[in-house]
Structures are given as structure tokens and as C-alpha cells.
């Protein structure tokens, strides 16, 4: 059965801290790994990763994938209170179903 595991499940930091969120997966016919940010209801797309070792970066957020060890990390530097959210990791597969398999998410709280 396909599985996506995120850690930690929750994290509380102070503004300015750097955080690393983890996502490991077991999935057949891996196609891509995606990161989303969920603040209220709708998840907002952050990154999609398909190749090992290539960092994706957007402002203070960056992410990298290791297809050999089957995990990804999401880094947030110089955190701000606006980064408080649930960060979701999901994996898609090649062929057949296009569905995404989601992890349970990491709830990040950034205190001023």
C-alpha cells in the first residue's frame, strides 16, 4: 500500500528560526512529490519535485528530493508568523490513477 509519512507532526518555533520538515514515502511507480501549504481550507501548491538532488527554491522556502532514500525535505529560513500553516506532502504515481497520496501534514506554528 502506498504510504507518505511526514515528521514532525507539529512544530513550534520563534520568528527568525529555520525549520526543516520531512517527508518519506513508499509508492509504486513514483512520478513526483509535491509540497502544499494549507492555511485555512485550500492547499496552496508550493513545489513539485521529480529528480533527485535538484533543489527547488522560492524565496525563503526550498525543497529537495532523494529518490534513492525515498524522502524529501522542505526548508523554511528566517520564519515569519505568516508561515504558520499545515504543510502537506503528497506523491503521485505514473500510469493508471492520477490520484495524489497525502501525508498527515506538519502543523507549523511561528510565534513572534
Amino acid at each position: 500500500e502506498d504510504k507518505v509519512v511526514q515528521s514532525p507532526l507539529s512544530l513550534v518555533v520563534h520568528e527568525g528560526d529555520t525549520v526543516t520538515l520531512n517527508c518519506s514515502y513508499e509508492v509504486t511507480n513514483f512520478r513526483s512529490l509535491l509540497w502544499y501549504k494549507q492555511e485555512k481550507k485550500a492547499p496552496t501548491f508550493l513545489f513539485m519535485l521529480t529528480s533527485s538532488g535538484i533543489e527547488k527554491k522560492s524565496g525563503r522556502l526550498s525543497s529537495i528530493l532523494d529518490k534513492k532514500e525515498l524522502f524529501s525535505i522542505l526548508n523554511i529560513t528566517a520564519t515569519q508568523t505568516g508561515d504558520s500553516a499545515i504543510y502537506l506532502c503528497a506523491v503521485s504515481r505514473m500510469g493508471g490513477s492520477e490520484k495524489l497520496v497525502f501525508g498527515k501534514g506538519t502543523k507549523l506554528t511561528v510565534n513572534p
Partner: protein, 114 residues
């Protein structure tokens, strides 16, 4: 990315009634999906809405409980039938725009069943 809207944004419904949620996309998309997110849980796929044919349901979800329509490439509806408090969730539609699996989500519908 496509702009996705959902209606209603939220609703409070009584046990035993049904609610239909609408999802509208501003461009034609092949793949549309419906997800459920129960309180404190992650997203679970209910079904894939196929244009011109019946939806494809995931294990644990059935058409009688969650009938889906997909009359064209920009619109879909999900009905939550004969509701119980366990159906209280956020319901999200999403579209798949790329070749590598990236999906974009609508704003969601927060449903509370009393």
C-alpha cells in the same frame, strides 16, 4: 494555473439531508478530483470526476453516498447524501493541469452536519 471556485463556501446542514457542492474552473481541464478532509486529518480522495462517464470512486466511497456529475470540462458537482455528523469535513475539488501530477485546489467547502 487555473482559477477554481467552489460553492457554497460553508454550510450547516441537518442530519438526513443532502448538499450539492459545485466546482467551476476557468479553463477546460481533463482531470477533476474530489477530496475530503475530516477534522484533524489529511486529505483523502473520494473520486475522480470523468467528463462524459461515471466517476471513479476510491475504496470506501460509493456513488449512492457521493454522487458526482461532470457535464463538461469546466464544471463538476459532488453531492453528500443522507448526511450524518461523520460527514462534517472540508470538501475540496482539484484539477490536474500538468503531466507530472501537480494538482491545484479550489477554496473548499466547510460542511457541518448537526
Amino acid at each position: 494555473s487555473a482559477v477554481i471556485s467552489q460553492k457554497p463556501s460553508r454550510d450547516i446542514c441537518q442530519r438526513g439531508t443532502s448538499l450539492t457542492i459545485q466546482c467551476q474552473v476557468d479553463s477546460q481541464v481533463t482531470m477533476m478530483f474530489w477530496y475530503r478532509q475530516q477534522p484533524g486529518q489529511s486529505l483523502t480522495l473520494i473520486a475522480t470526476a470523468n467528463q462524459g462517464s461515471e466517476a471513479t470512486y476510491e475504496s470506501g466511497f460509493v456513488i449512492d453516498k457521493f454522487p458526482i456529475s461532470r457535464p463538461n470540462l469546466t464544471f463538476s458537482t459532488l453531492t453528500v447524501s443522507n448526511m450524518s455528523p461523520e460527514d462534517s469535513s472540508i470538501y475540496l475539488c482539484s484539477v490536474d493541469e500538468g503531466r507530472l501530477g501537480e494538482q491545484y485546489f479550489g477554496p473548499g467547502t466547510r460542511l457541518t452536519v448537526t
